[in-house]
């Protein structure tokens, strides 16, 4: 469903993403992990047509993003890392607007909007201007907007930032449920716990290159960790955790 083929992005002399090849199947939740500045957001922005790749191909549900962007995007839902939305619209209006952009008929969009508002606990706020929403509420609204057209693919960038524990649990459950219905989810996250709980497979990116790919069990083997090792330990081993270790020591001091 999602195919990244030899994807590369260069900013001047800086190589942000190099020769990245990943594919995600229908009904699979794929976790994309990596330290800050590893190239996660750049990859996701290329997948959504927000950045032009230097080379390589992005194929979404069989549609090449470079040549058939409209059809590729039609099947895709996107949740960015920061929930910037039209502040002068109300939450309800925003969902109607997004539904319209994805050609969802009004008769289908209205009940779905109400359903999503209720699911993300925003029904009491639907007539309020978005400028009065908290960060977490905006995050939930963007998540609702990404689902309003019942996408076949969902691309999510750092979804847990700013969510309270309840919101985070709701999101994890929603992602799993979506996968059960055949939706492919590509999610970048910093939260190893979320990745461990939610993802079927995980890719770890370091300095723009994919350094590990597989299930948690496969990653454990790749890292040479013991069988009960947590993803945090595997991640630190694979990404080189000197700076993290130093931080932890300093914090404990």
């Amino acid at each position: 469903m999602i195919e990244l083929i030899h994807l590369t992005k260069r900013y001047g002399h800086t190589l942000a993403v190099y020769d990245l090849s990943v594919s995600v199947d229908a009904g699979e939740v794929f976790g994309f992990l990596g330290p800050n500045g590893a190239g996660k957001t750049t990859t996701i922005r290329m997948m959504m047509g927000l950045l032009q790749p230097t080379s390589g191909t992005v194929r979404l549900a069989g549609h090449d993003l470079a040549t058939d962007a409209i059809n590729a995007k039609r099947l895709c839902g996107f949740v960015p890392d920061r929930p910037h939305v039209y502040e002068k619209l109300t939450g309800g209006e925003f969902l109607d607007f997004v539904a319209g952009l994805y050609d969802v008929p009004a008769t289908v969009a209205a009940p779905r909007r109400d359903e999503l508002l209720e699911l993300f606990d925003l029904q009491d706020w639907s007539a309020e201007l978005i400028e009065s929403y908290s960060h977490g509420m905006k995050q939930r609204l963007v998540m609702a907007a990404a689902l309003i057209h019942a996408p076949r693919l969902l691309i999510v960038d750092e979804p847990m930032v700013g969510l309270d524990p309840r919101g985070a649990r709701l999101l994890k459950r929603t992602l799993r449920q979506l996968a059960h219905t055949g939706v492919s989810v590509f999610m970048s996250t910093h939260s190893l716990e979320v990745a461990e709980e939610t993802c079927d497979r995980i890719g770890i990116i370091m300095q723009g290159k994919l350094v590990a790919l597989g299930t948690v069990e496969e990653l454990r083997r790749q890292a040479g960790e013991r069988s009960n090792a947590r993803l945090e330990e595997i991640f630190l081993r694979l990404t080189g955790g000197e700076d993290v270790a130093e931080l932890l020591t300093a914090l404990r001091a």
């Binding site: 959504m48 962007a69 050609d103 309020e128």
Partner: protein
């Protein structure tokens, strides 16, 4: 934080300030940012240091921006500096000439200059008061960094003085920039010595503090009555109305009579009779009273009025701080309250909008409705329409006071020449309106641009929806300007048609050009349209528009001249004249269409490649 008196002596180093790298103590810190200074040392850190730290981000930001300027940025800064110097010089020359003119009037001269000085101070005072109310809403209640500053263990007085300092700098710098050449002109015109300049420098600070404290106090009361965001909307609206009324009032005074010697006698009487700043209770009067005796070397109570200024500023500062101590926290809490949607809640409004947009494709319709809704929900946007209305009124009024007296031929000649020049003027008005409303519309998508980019939306639809939202009202405005003025002037029917059609076509090109330049110079981080219009994109756009309008007017000059002369001489046009007229008009049309097509193509391509 205000209301947390007890913590002030124990927590002298504010986290908010520490993050900026405090000079002495801030340097001594662990790698994780914990200061290593001992508590007794920290207690010694006095309030002035905290105040300096709180004010430092403003100056550091300016310094960092200047230090990090690339070549393009340095050019832009240089250009801006040149424009500033030109503006400054223009103010100086205006005041210098006006003062010399007044001083040349026997007996009346000094009275007039004194009246003018009082008017200048009164104007500054009114502007400062209003601008301080609006600025302090941001600095005390709405700024993004307030969360951190309010949460910091700061003494209440430090918070107050730091924010007051910010308010004064932000609201007064422009008035000071305007005042310097004006006062310099006063000094030069009167041949004043260095004492005058020294006294001016000493007078300005207390004069700036008084409206600032009054403004902050006013804001503190208003915010406790209305939520802060609502207050800002009301104030923005009021300020726009005030500017519009002032603008119209000033125009109706017919200031051009100043340069008309015949009218001067009556103007002198008028000015002398005006009961301007004579109230002894106004700080602007005190400031004028401080400068006036020094200026003329005349007797006066400069010291008394200076003392009045300083003591009032000090007293108001203390009173304002006391008021803020009581009212800040409740007001700040209210400022966090949200707002319900207005305007589009009414089904009638929504229905009208849906009906108007019926001819559009579904996605374009959505985008148009979104544009209109967001425009009318943003007070800083729709309130500009009031200024626009004032502009139209003054524009039409200007034509009603044109001195068109003379013989029939002269009048006929003048009227048609003016009607033709009016085409360029109206084009300029259209460009000015576009630079404020059309050019920023791409940038105003802001950080939400990802929504359109990731949706299955051909970006040409976004371009066209913004185009139609811009072109319809601007076309109506432009046609009103030309049709009304041409009807008033009663020009040749051919001239009427030519003006209307040319302006109509130009409007399409000017609006499309606005979107193209807007897409070429996007400022997705700008929080309001005025900032985008004031940027490099605005300058480039105005230069392109002026060149385009100028070229069209030049191309149409020959056809207009030929038609006009044939009418004047009552002759028919030769076939050569007809061909050349057609060629000129054809070239103008070709240019207009060319600009339109090129702008649309470039704008859409640019939107497609923009990476938000």
């Amino acid at each position: 934080m205000l209301g947390h008196d007890s913590v002030e002596s124990r927590n002298a180093v504010a986290p908010a300030a520490r993050s900026d790298g405090a000079p002495a103590e801030g340097r001594a810190r662990s790698r994780l940012g914990r200061p290593t200074v001992s508590p007794p040392t920290r207690a010694l850190v006095a309030a002035p240091l905290q105040l300096r730290m709180l004010l430092s981000p403003r100056f550091r930001a300016v310094r960092n921006r200047v230090q990090r300027l690339d070549r393009k940025g340095r050019w832009q800064l240089g250009l801006l500096g040149l424009l500033g110097v030109a503006f400054w010089t223009a103010i100086f020359i205006f005041f210098y000439r006006a003062l010399n003119y007044f001083l040349s009037v026997p007996d009346f001269g000094p009275v007039l200059t004194y009246k003018l000085l009082g008017m200048v101070f009164l104007t500054f005072f009114s502007i400062l008061l209003f601008s301080n109310i609006i600025t302090s809403l941001s600095t005390f209640f709405l700024s993004a960094e307030l969360d951190r500053v309010v949460a910091a263990p700061l003494p209440r007085s430090v918070f107050f003085y730091a924010r007051l300092g910010d308010t004064i700098i932000e609201s007064s710098w422009m008035v000071v920039a305007f005042a310097v050449p004006a006062f310099l002109a006063y000094g030069v015109a009167h041949g004043a010595g260095p004492v005058f300049y020294l006294v001016t420098i000493l007078t300005l600070p207390p004069f700036l503090v008084i409206p600032a404290t009054l403004g902050v106090a006013c804001t503190a009361v208003l915010v406790n009555v209305f939520p802060a965001r609502r207050t800002r909307d009301i104030l923005v609206l009021l300020s726009v109305v005030a500017v519009a009324v002032l603008y119209m009032f000033f125009r109706m005074l017919q200031p051009e009579q100043l340069v008309n010697p015949e009218a001067f006698a009556t103007f002198v009487q008028f000015l002398a009779a005006m009961q301007t700043p004579s109230s002894p209770l106004l700080p602007s009067t005190w400031a004028a009273e401080v400068l006036h005796p020094v200026l003329n070397g005349r007797r006066g109570d400069a010291l008394f009025h200076f003392a009045l200024l300083v003591s009032t500023a000090a007293a108001l500062t203390v009173l304002c701080e006391m008021l803020l101590q009581r009212t800040f926290l409740p007001g700040w809490s209210k400022a966090q309250e949200g707002r319900k949607a207005r305007f589009t809640r009414q089904p009638a409004w929504e229905r009208v909008l849906r009906f108007i947009t019926l001819p559009f494709a579904a996605q374009s319709r959505l985008l148009v409705i979104k544009e209109v809704k967001t425009f009318f929900r943003d007070t800083s946007q729709w309130s500009q329409l009031i200024l626009l209305l004032a502009l139209v009124v003054v524009y039409l009024y200007n034509f009603s006071v044109l001195p068109l007296a003379g013989g029939a031929v002269v009048t006929f000649y003048f009227k048609n020449v003016i009607a033709f020049l009016n085409l360029a003027l109206a084009g300029f008005v259209i460009a000015s309106v576009s630079v404020r409303f059309v050019l920023p519309s791409i940038s105003l998508e802001g950080r939400s641009f990802w929504i359109a980019k990731t949706a299955p939306l051909p970006l040409r639809r976004l371009f066209w929806s913004k185009f139609w939202v811009g072109v319809v009202p601007i076309l109506v405005l432009g046609e009103i300007l030309v049709i009304a003025t041409n009807s008033y002037l009663n020009v040749l029917p051919a001239m009427k048609w030519l003006s209307s059609i040319t302006l109509g076509c130009m409007t399409f090109s000017i609006v499309a050009l606005g979107l193209a330049v807007g897409a070429a110079y996007p400022k997705f981080d700008a929080d309001n349209a005025a900032k985008v219009a004031a940027g490099v994109g605005g300058l480039v756009y105005m230069i392109l528009c002026m060149s385009f309008i100028g070229a069209v007017v030049v191309l149409e000059a020959w056809p207009v001249y030929a038609l006009f002369m044939s009418r004047l001489r009552d002759t028919t046009l030769t076939s050569w004249a007809q061909v050349s007229i057609a060629a000129s008009l054809g070239s103008a049309l070709l240019l207009t269409v060319g600009v339109f097509v090129a702008s649309v193509r470039y704008g859409i391509r640019r939107l497609e490649t923009l990476e938000p």
